[in-house]
Symmetry: C2
Amino acid sequence: MKARVHVTLKNGVLDPQGKAIGDALHRLGFPEVEEVRQGKFIELDLTDGDPATAKARLDEMCRKLLANTVIENYRVELLG
Amino acid sequence: MKARVHVTLKNGVLDPQGKAIGDALHRLGFPEVEEVRQGKFIELDLTDGDPATAKARLDEMCRKLLANTVIENYRVELLG
């Protein structure tokens, strides 16, 4: 079973890495770029099991390790 | 216009960060986790324009800055 997790900074949290990417893109000749936000993308292979349990367990993994929920949001997708 | 870029390591390229996440998840009591791969997720706001041009420009951004195409794959989505 495959799962995908996106971890992104919450709105209003400064993103210096995204800002640096945006500035670099401007310097490279891409003036159409307005805002850039960088997040993390994590792909997990899980042993097969009940999808509802897997979803709940993934949620727990995000809260315990993958995301810092004070400043980050996460989104879990189970690909079956 | 919003765009999303996923940058992932190519198959066969070692991913120590993903390995560290997998090991930590095991220690935290998630033995169902097999492989973990970590990638980057970049959200861009672009000034409105022709979608086909924007897609081509995003492709160029990936090749020039966002991805190291020797070891990484990228995927661009334009959200209109």
